[in-house]
């Protein structure tokens, strides 16, 4: 069968699928009914059922979940807060929305003294007592006056007091959980999202993510590249925080958003072609009752240009909302003094005895933080007189107390610029959690009468004009560090999909969205299909494939694993492994000789055993009515097996120093920096199977996990209970790095950083150098100036 014949067969297959669903179908290529059916699919009854790949917890009908929280959903202690952005459509902004906050609080929390305060775009909207020991949901009306179309900033602050205990220790018993699965915008399911700008307000899934289903009629390299570009532009323009991509050309998948990228002839018979104009070349089909669909025609230049413009413009929203979004990607600039206000903190007074406010400080991913410099804090705060000894202000970095300042016990003090220096070594590249804490016990705490404190006066105030300043940072490129993948680089990247099946494409697309994080513009990505594309790739190549699609040498090159370890772990038996390994040799040779990008459609008939033909063979078999190797269908298999991805990755607290040399367990999937047989390096995402591959890609795409991606190899695994584990490794050779720049200043800082991390080496080196210098000095002194012996001057 020639490529043309196979293409015709594929298109015919689409029609058959449509016809088989029972709707009016026309097997003719480009049938309007068929495409319509393809786009409509089976509609889910509720939003939280859209993507079974995500946590599916009960939610009330008509409840649209919220984007991911900027922080922990548990509000602890006497004061704690969480911020996030609330996207609304123009219509919602005009009418106002109702926000449902589901919460559960500790029994110790005294309702009379505890409140949950909500502000939207800096304007107080609601304050209600915290009284939910058994869980409760509160509907809060957010008036139209405070909303603007797009993203709005929401700040939720819990102020909690203990019912009976006034000790500082008791404050650790205070907590309120925000139940994300039961929170959201009420009655948003019925909302419509008729324009590109409205897409930002699409209901999120319970974990705050969104699933986009790709519908691509023709699986060729050019079409796939166009689809990928459209996807990235759409995500960038809409501002979706956490995206899972399902690459499928059937209507069986379930998603929040369907993205159709293909020739407009595909829907020309739908009567919708006329809806696209030169001014509005992208068609957003927001038909009630089914996923919003975006149709991008590839046979005209306007849609692609429009999407590019959409991405370049970026999402919109209120000033507070956009600041909040920018903060998530905000990388601190060395030498720049930043106020706490720029991190979202506000001037605040505090009544209790254990104050804590935290924010994220993001260091550049290529930073090499060590003790060659100090982060200089200048705190502006005040406290009352009468504090008991032991009261202090502390700065906690990534969970560890790094600086403290005792508070004067017997007098009121106002500090306008109290300086605290924290060595840079306390920080790490990427996100650092900075917490400003104060312990403020006074005599009244000894004679505990909680209810008398209703009128208590503030003991402490922190000004948002407090500042911090980063020193100059050493820049290093960790050549074998996966952090570079999400480091905000703008250099072109080769995305190689050796076997462009649905799982690989989905994983690659999901992963590619992570490349754009933190960059002003989309990172140039060159798509390569087929294993042969590996050889043509540049120095930044990312290979996405299940293990069985990879040559042995690739798996054996994974740092931290012994050669063959992956095959042993992931292959059920030796015979099976041998069989699979043997089967892999043929396509590898064929791919090596096949430079074309249209791998899937140009493979010779005899080589269909290659994994790359999965999609095509399934479609052909389905079209012919013959039983397939995947009777339930490729997508059903994938989606049906998808576990609760929301908990796939707990936010790991990893840093380069904690990584081991050996991967104890390869888990289910591995992301690694490998050295290819020809000596070039590449990033490899591989998994036990396509299912795990997709889940791993989703994990990497999650912004909450992005900063934890470090080391030469990371293994993902999950237990039977559903919890997941992430383990990193530098491999036997350890981190391999080179200077980010060879400027004297950078080299000096790198050297200073290394010395700081290796104190004894520094001392030894210095003493060695000094002993040599002393010896040289002695020799020189014997040769210069006057020298005397018994006979006088020599």
């Amino acid at each position: 069968m020639t490529a043309r014949e196979r293409r015709a067969a594929f298109l015919a297959c689409c029609a058959i699928v449509i016809g088989s669903s029972g709707l009016a179908a026309n097997a003719e290529e480009g049938s309007p009914a068929a495409i319509l059916r393809l786009l409509q699919g089976d509609l889910p009854p509720a939003a939280d059922e859209i993507a079974p790949a995500r946590p599916s917890r009960p939610a009330g009908p008509g409840l649209a979940h919220l984007p991911p929280l900027q922080g922990d959903a548990r509000l602890e202690g006497e004061i704690d807060g969480v911020r996030w952005t609330l996207p609304v459509t123009a219509e919602q902004a005009e009418r106002g929305v109702t926000l449902r906050l589901a919460q559960t609080s500790a029994l110790a929390v005294a309702p009379e003294l505890s409140t949950l305060d909500l502000t939207v775009n800096g304007i107080p909207v609601d304050s209600h007592p915290i009284d939910a020991p058994e869980g409760a949901a509160r509907d809060i009306a957010i008036p139209a006056e405070v909303l603007v179309p797009g993203y709005n900033a929401v700040d939720l602050t819990a102020r909690q007091r203990h019912r009976v205990d006034c000790s500082a220790e008791a404050t650790y018993e205070l907590w309120t959980d925000i139940d994300l699965a039961r929170s959201g915008i009420v009655a948003a399911i019925g909302a419509r999202y008729p324009t590109l700008d409205d897409l930002a307000a699409l209901p999120r899934e319970p974990d705050g993510g969104i699933t986009i289903r790709i519908v691509q009629p023709t699986l060729d390299a050019a079409g796939t590249a166009a689809t990928l570009t459209a996807l990235r532009n759409l995500v960038r323009g809409s501002g979706f925080e956490k995206v899972s991509v399902l690459w499928g050309d059937t209507a069986e998948g379930q998603a929040t958003l369907d993205l159709f990228v293909g020739p407009s002839t595909r829907w020309s018979g739908l009567g919708r072609a006329e809806l696209t104009t030169t001014e509005r070349p992208i068609l957003v089909d927001a038909t009630q009752g089914r996923p919003t669909t975006v149709l991008v025609a590839t046979d005209r230049p306007e849609p692609a240009r429009a999407l590019a413009t959409f991405a370049a413009t970026g999402p919109r929203g209120s000033v507070h909302g956009m600041e909040e979004r920018e903060r998530a990607q905000d990388v601190a600039v060395p030498g720049e003094r930043r106020s706490f206000a720029s991190f979202g903190l506000v001037d605040e007074t505090f009544v209790g005895q254990r104050y804590s406010r935290a924010f994220d400080l993001r260091l550049p991913a290529d930073a090499y933080p060590a003790d060659y410099g100090d982060v200089e804090f200048e705190l502006a705060f005040a406290h009352v007189a009468g504090l008991r000894p032991g009261s202090e202000v502390r700065v906690r970095i990534n969970g560890a107390i790094r600086a403290s300042l005792a508070l004067t016990a017997n007098e009121r003090r106002v500090h306008r610029r109290k300086s605290l220096q924290i060595p840079l070594g306390a920080f790490r590249p990427g996100v650092n959690r900075v917490a400003i804490e104060a312990t403020l016990a006074d005599a009244a705490d000894l004679s505990c009468a909680p209810l008398d404190r209703v009128e208590a006066k503030p003991r402490f105030a922190l000004s948002a004009q407090s500042t911090l300043r980063l020193p100059k940072l050493a820049s290093v490129v960790r050549e074998n560090d996966l952090a570079g993948l999400t480091a905000g680089s703008t250099t072109p990247l080769d995305l190689i999909i050796p076997t462009p099946d649905a799982a690989s494409l989905s994983a690659a697309a999901t992963l590619s969205l992570g490349f754009d994080a933190g960059t002003a513009d989309l990172r140039p990505v060159r798509l390569g299909l087929g294993l042969g594309a590996v050889e043509q790739a540049g120095k930044d190549a990312v290979i996405v494939a299940p293990l069985e699609a990879l040559p042995t040498a690739f798996a054996d090159a994974i740092p931290g694993l012994a050669p063959g370890a992956l095959q042993t772990a992931w292959m059920p038996s030796e015979a099976d492994a041998i069989g699979r390994l043997a089967a892999r040799q043929a396509p590898r040779r064929a791919d090596a000789a096949d430079p074309t990008l249209e791998v899937a459609l140009s493979l010779p008939e005899t080589e269909r055993v290659a994994p790359t033909i999965d999609v095509l063979s399934d479609w052909e078999a389905f079209n012919a009515g013959a039983p397939t190797s995947e009777p339930e269908g490729l997508w059903e298999t994938i989606l049906g097996a998808a576990p609760d991805l929301g908990e796939f990755l707990d936010r790991p607290e990893m840093s380069g120093q904690e990584l081991s040399a050996v991967l104890q367990d390869p888990g289910d999937a591995i992301l690694a920096r490998i050295e290819q047989p020809d000596g070039r390096t590449a990033t490899l995402l591989t998994a036990r199977d396509g299912d795990a591959l997709m889940r791993a890609a989703l994990g990497f795409g999650d912004p909450a996990h992005r900063d934890a991606i470090t080391g030469a190899a990371i293994a993902f695994s999950e237990t039977e209970a559903g919890s997941q584990r992430l383990q990193g490794s530098w491999g036997a050779e350890g981190p391999r790095w080179r200077p980010g720049s060879f400027s004297p200043g950078n080299l000096r800082l790198i050297l200073a950083g290394w010395f700081s991390d290796n104190a004894f080496a520094y001392a030894a080196l210095m003493l060695g150098a000094l002993v040599v210098a002393g010896g040289a000095t002695s020799q020189l002194l014997g040769r210069v100036g006057r020298r005397f012996d018994a006979e006088g001057v020599r």
Binding site: D371, A409, M766, L767, G774, F788
Partner: protein, 735 residues
């Protein structure tokens, strides 16, 4: 080969500098500081010599460099807080000055020269002719006469030795002064001095006027003689008999040598030694300079002229146009000029003159102010760094000598900085306690170790701080005046041979009293703040500790300005010759136990002597003193120092009306050989254990504060009672 070694050395220094100026973390700094100090201590405890001495100094240099780098880059207050920044910058500059001086000193004394003896060469007929110039202004005959007599006693062919008294106290201008008192004094002085000079065989030279002070006087003397070499002796610097035999040989050995400088050795106590009761216990203050620094300078051919006890080559002086007088430190200025002309200098580390130093605190300040002003003038008018013809070591040597006098500002800054922090909460030192330990303590420890290693034998612990602090308020003003007008300072003669009839506060004590009060209040307030803020600012505790140290220094300094009574004008030297004392026709065989310019003390060899106070008689003795034959016949004496009645084993005798010959005999008895001075000098050059010295320092502080305050009360009481007691015979005239 030397170039190769220099290149290698420079390479190691560059590597060390690069590594030492890395902005490393506290752990690395702490590790290095600890390891460095441990190695320094090991070298010191093992008394390792040779290359290890250099290693010791290089490690100290690296610790200092790291501290300086850290202070500049990490501890300055932000510029946006100008008051904090200004005070912080002043403190940093003061510390950097101290660090720079340490480095300069380490360079200067990196390999002190130990010069072998250079005996006279050839037959005496071929020896160069020597003119001895003794400039005088207001010193009395007891002082000048002894110096002239000792000069005449020097072992050198009489036909090649000429002594000139350059009397600026009786110039024609003073003889014709409108002031009758000045005129009368000048006339009396001229008659007395001229007569004595003629009797002694010394040339008497008096100028028309006192132009260009000491330099002018010396140049006038140069014009009245033509010897090959010139020995300059201050009026109170009596030379030992072997002075020329130990110095002229150096001139013979090197025809391009313009100077042979020898140490100034003082027989009496300076105010600090006397008032703290440390005389003859601890090394003299000037020993730090003469026993170490001048030897270090000699290594680099940079030993310079110190105004006296130095032999100079006339040819070189003629080339320079005589002694230079642009500044009031003509000695250093002249040496600088001659070094720049390519002449060499030598330093012979053997005390060969016995001199007097200022007895009172205000006289000391007068002297030191002149030195400070003169060196500032040199820096401003003839800067050694810019002067052509000098080698770089010479430039650094002179620079070190000049910059030293800025210590007054650094010391005052160190003393007052805690006040700014404790009283006014000025953030002048941005650092944590950990940083203070890792940097500042190691820096201080390294400085102390270096000082102990280099100067330990000649300077007890904490004495430098006391000397510097006690002078600082006064010298600071003198230096500032010089900055404002470099040509304004005038030569002020230092008073010598003064006595104090009663205990009392120095008339210029009030600045130190005020500072002590301020520091005491500051320290008390600091303690109050620490106590009130138990868990408070850790830097406050450090600064309060610093203030305590300052208070101790100020407390001891209070004792320095609490002047003890001193009734003896001239110090006594131990002698041991036998003779006969005849009093009212009774002859007593006696042993002369000590002697001075004004008298002797004798002990009877045959039982108690029945003598009355103030009775007169004669003393005859004969014997040897340090290998030199001494004999005196019929020396008129008076009984002194006897309060009681009845027979006495030992009595003090005062000289009456000495003739020139008798003065020569007294001088021979006192200064027979430089060996006398050297023994005294070496006996005092003993290192003091640091811990014991520190404890003693603290005890001094307690005692001297009590003594100083009691003097304050006494002074106030005297003023109230209109019983003013003034120091006698202090005369500090200004030319």
């Amino acid at each position: 080969m030397t170039r190769a070694w220099f290149a290698f050395w420079a390479g190691t220094v560059v590597v060390v500098a690069l590594v030492a100026t890395q902005p490393i973390g506290l752990d690395a700094q702490f590790s290095f500081g600890l390891a460095g100090l441990a190695l320094m201590l090991t070298i010191r405890l093992l008394r390792a010599k040779g290359a290890w001495r250099s290693v010791f100094l290089v490690i100290a240099g690296a610790i200092v460099l790291r501290y300086a780098y850290w202070r500049i880059t990490s501890t300055l207050p932000p510029v946006v807080e100008p008051i904090d920044f200004g005070f912080g910058l002043a403190l940093v500059i003061a510390e950097l000055y101290a660090a720079a001086m340490l480095v300069l000193n380490v360079f200067v004394v990196s390999d002190p020269a130990t010069r072998p003896d250079e005996r006279l060469r050839g037959a005496p007929e071929s020896w160069p002719r020597v003119d001895v110039l003794v400039p005088s202004y207001n010193e009395d005959l007891d002082i000048v006469g002894t110096t002239l007599a000792a000069a005449k006693n020097m072992d050198y062919p009489a036909d090649k030795l000429r002594v000139l008294l350059l009397d600026d106290g009786a110039t024609e201008a003073r003889l014709k002064s409108d002031d009758p008192v000045v005129r009368a004094r000048a006339e009396a002085r001229r008659d007395e001095m001229r007569a004595f000079a003629e009797e002694l065989g010394v040339d008497y030279v008096a100028r028309r006027e006192n132009a260009h002070a000491k330099a002018g006087n010396l140049n006038a003397g140069l014009g009245r003689c033509d010897g090959d070499l010139v020995l300059v002796l201050d009026a109170d610097h009596a030379p030992a008999a072997d002075f020329l035999t130990r110095t002229v040989g150096h001139m013979q050995a090197d025809p391009r040598l313009f100077l042979v400088q020898t140490p100034h050795f003082f027989l009496n106590a300076d105010p600090l030694e006397r008032n703290l009761g440390l005389h003859r216990r601890m090394p003299s203050e000037c020993e730090m300079f003469y026993a170490v620094t001048q030897r270090g300078l000699d290594k680099w051919d940079a030993a310079y002229f110190c105004g006296s006890a130095a032999l100079l080559r006339r040819e070189a002086l003629n080339e320079a146009g005589g002694f230079l007088g642009r500044t009031i430190t003509e000695d250093c200025e002249s040496a600088l000029d001659l070094h720049a002309r390519g002449w060499h200098s030598a330093y012979v580390d053997r005390a060969m003159v016995g001199g007097l130093q200022p007895e009172t605190f205000d006289a000391l300040i007068t002297q030191r102010s002149r030195w400070a002003q003169g060196m500032m003038q040199i820096l401003m008018l003839s800067n050694p760094v810019l002067k052509s013809g000098l080698s770089w070591p010479q430039r650094l040597g002179y620079l070190s000598a000049g910059l030293f006098w800025l210590f007054c500002f650094a010391r005052l800054t160190f003393m007052l900085a805690p006040v700014a922090y404790i009283f006014f909460d000025l953030r002048i030192y941005v650092a944590s306690l950990q940083e203070f330990v890792a940097y500042t303590l190691f820096f201080l420890a390294a400085c102390l170790l270096v000082r102990e290693q280099i100067f330990g034998a000649v300077r007890w612990p904490w004495l430098s701080e006391i000397y510097e602090y006690a002078q600082s308020p006064y010298l600071a003003w003198a230096v500032i005046r010089t900055w404002l007008n470099p040509k304004a300072p005038s030569f002020t003669v230092t008073a010598k041979g003064a006595t104090l009839e009663e205990h009392g506060l120095s008339p210029i004590a009030w600045p130190l009293l005020g500072l002590f009060t301020l520091l005491a209040v500051t320290t008390g307030f600091g303690f109050w703040r620490v106590a009130a803020d138990l868990h408070g600012d850790e830097l406050l505790m450090v600064v309060t500790g610093w203030s305590v140290f300052n208070l101790l220094v100020a407390g001891v300094s209070l004792g320095v300005v609490a002047e003890r009574r001193e009734r003896r004008r001239f110090p006594r030297l131990e002698v041991d010759v036998e003779g006969v004392l005849t009093i009212e026709e009774a002859a007593y065989p006696v042993r002369v136990r000590d002697a001075g310019l004004g008298g002797v003390r004798v002990e009877s060899l045959s039982g108690p002597m029945d003598v009355e106070g103030a009775s007169t008689g004669t003393l005859t003795y004969e014997g040897t003193s340090f290998g030199c034959s001494v004999a005196m016949k019929g020396l008129n004496v008076r009984i002194a120092g006897r309060n009681g009645q009845g027979p006495a084993k030992g009595v003090g005798l005062m000289f009456d009306e000495l003739t020139a010959v008798q003065r020569r005999e007294i001088a021979r008895l006192l200064y027979p050989s430089s060996e006398r001075f050297e023994r005294l000098r070496r006996s005092r050059q003993k290192a003091r254990n640091f811990t014991a010295g520190t404890i003693e320092f603290a005890l001094w502080a307690v005692y001297q504060v009590a003594r100083g305050l009691s003097y304050v009360v006494m002074d106030v009481w005297r003023r109230l009672s209109r019983l003013q007691v003034r120091p006698a015979a202090i005369e500090g005239n200004v030319r």
